[in-house]
């Protein structure tokens, strides 16, 4: 389990992201293909991006907590140019970036890409689920359209 991985080893697994003491548990989760979001143990509210305290009640008892990764597309854009990443080829067509409102809590959102879907099917309101992909040799949480969902 990546939960045992040292901070130094964790940083080496994700040389392309800025890991901090506030977000490190989320990236440990990625290595196990688990999407974790910080949740307050006192007021139960999730928050994202990771903060050292619960921004709602100011409790310090925040804990990386698994979420389903299911949700609905809230914002959607399609990049014709942007930062480089393996598997992202802007020449081949626009790269979708979506902000998904997670089913665990209204207004709790996670931003990533959508795989295995034609651009025209990636619309605001569309239900999605997690789809782990590989990026620089580490798991990366993306989304795919959720079939059969309303």
């Amino acid at each position: 389990m990546a939960g045992q991985l040292s901070d130094a080893a964790l940083v080496e697994r994700f040389p392309w992201v800025q890991i901090s003491h506030d977000n490190k548990e989320l990236f440990r989760g990625w290595l196990d293909q688990r999407l974790l979001i910080l949740r307050c143990r006192d007021c139960n509210r999730f928050h994202h991006p990771p903060k050292p305290i619960c921004p709602e009640c100011w409790s310090w008892r925040v804990e990386a907590t698994p979420v389903s990764g299911r949700g609905v597309i809230h914002l959607a854009m399609f990049l014709r140019q942007g930062s480089p990443a393996p598997g992202v080829d802007y020449e081949n067509g626009p790269h979708p970036v979506v902000t998904v409102e997670l089913e665990e809590q209204p207004g709790l959102r996670f931003t990533s890409t959508v795989v295995d879907a034609p651009i025209e099917a990636i619309t605001i309101g569309a239900p999605v689920e997690l789809a782990w992909i590989d990026r620089y040799g580490a798991p990366f949480p993306a989304f795919r359209l959720r079939k059969g969902a309303k």
Binding site: Q18, H48, P49, H74, F78, L79, R80, S83, P94, F110
Partner: protein
């Protein structure tokens, strides 16, 4: 709202600080061989001379932290200002510098402030800048070692993301965004400082290169080299210095707590709403008094937001509003046939000054020095600066 009501009851700075000097390099796509410090010095010296002052009069220096711009302490040395008792480095965009200067003067930390802003095209937003070896070190936001992921919802990408939401919620059309761009271009044609003066048609807008759907190149401001500077002092002193001091009636920043770009509560509640509530509470002038309107246009979606959020129309109504207030003859918006929107061409067409162009043009218009762009008898200007997340700001300027 308790805090806002309390503060607004006592807003002792209202009308007490005046802008007495303005200076600006023209904006350009390539200032060729000039450093941001050189541009900042030119604008600053112009502004100090415009105020009828010399270096000994400046005891406050506010250097806004634009990438590559000289810091306030460096500017003090660049100009050898002999007695500086306040210096600071606020974040962009423009009103943070204005507000810091105002509060420093009003509190007595200093008497007369130079505020300056220098812009330099960066390697990541300009191909020609990427060729300039001297610009390699200049990073946005002071620089992080790691380039962002394509999926990073940084502030600029976030405007595109929320534009998608705006289209989804209100059924907005691309033409609604296009009118913003066309208005700015038509206005820029009459501004010698502007970089983009080629006439723009709706066909031209609709066929422009997409950058991040749903926004295209013409929805995004144009990177420039250039600098703006302002000199502020007390209104009392300004009245002795000049016949037409332009006073800051009210100015404010505005944020909501959930300001992480992708976590913003909604298009119905963000920084612009706080700014509008604050300006209304702190000022005594509003839309009926406004002769010239300056909605920020770093991205076209921000302008649509300002038009709606100051109350010219309902949420989602900005496209229709511009259609109804479109002046066919001049190819631009004239609200009620009278009030133009960014008569200098805004960030989209004058150049990406993060609001300093708006501030400079507001002063120029209120002084009655805008030449062929002059709004007849302009007495009050409303500036809605910045966007939705961490940099929403506003100001009401007036001639006294």
């Amino acid at each position: 709202m308790m805090a806002m009501d309390q503060a607004a009851k006592r807003y002792p700075i209202r009308d007490q600080i005046a802008i007495v000097g303005i200076g600006s390099t023209a904006f350009s796509r390539d200032a060729g061989g000039r450093s941001p410090a050189s541009l900042a010095c030119e604008a600053s010296i112009q502004a100090i001379h415009d105020a009828g002052m010399t270096k000994a009069d400046i005891d406050g220096v506010v250097g806004v932290l634009e990438p590559g711009a000289p810091r306030a302490n460096q500017m003090t040395a660049l100009l050898e200002l002999p007695n500086v008792t306040h210096h600071s480095g606020p974040m962009p965009v423009a009103m943070f510098g204005l507000i810091d200067a105002m509060t420093a003067i009003f509190s007595g930390q200093c008497d007369t402030v130079l505020v300056y802003y220098a812009f330099t095209r960066l390697p990541w937003n300009s191909r020609s800048a990427a060729q300039d070896p001297f610009r390699r070190y200049v990073m946005m936001g002071g620089g992080t070692a790691k380039p962002p992921m394509p999926e990073s919802i940084d502030p600029s990408a976030a405007y595109t993301a929320w534009a998608s939401r705006y289209i989804h919620e209100f059924g907005a059309r691309r033409e609604d965004f296009g009118r913003i761009a066309i208005n700015m271009r038509a206005n820029a044609a009459r501004n010698p400082k502007a970089v983009m003066k080629t006439p723009l048609t709706m066909e031209g807008y609709l066929s422009a290169r997409m950058i991040r759907d749903p926004l295209c190149m013409l929805d995004m401001d144009i990177p420039v080299d250039g600098a703006d500077a302002f000199v502020l002092t007390t209104t009392e002193r300004a009245k002795r210095l000049t016949k037409n001091p332009i006073v800051v009636h009210a100015a404010t920043a505005g944020m909501v707590g959930r300001s992480d770009e992708d976590q913003l509560p909604s298009l119905a509640r963000h920084g612009q709403h706080v700014v509008v509530e604050s300006l209304k509470a702190r000022g005594e002038l509003w839309l009926d008094d406004v002769d010239v309107f300056f909605p920020y246009d770093g991205f076209s979606i921000i302008t649509l937001g300002w038009i709606e959020n100051v109350g010219y129309c309902k949420p989602g109504g900005a496209g229709r509003f511009m259609e109804e207030h479109w002046d066919e003859k001049s190819g631009r918006v004239l609200i009620n046939g009278r009030v133009p929107m960014n008569p200098h061409g805004g960030s989209l067409s004058e150049g990406a000054s993060r609001g300093t162009g708006h501030l400079r043009e507001a002063v120029t218009q209120l002084r009655g020095e805008a030449g062929s762009r002059q709004v007849e008898n302009a007495r009050t200007a409303l500036i809605g600066c910045g966007g939705f997340f961490f940099n929403s700001q506003g100001a009401i300027l007036r001639r006294i």
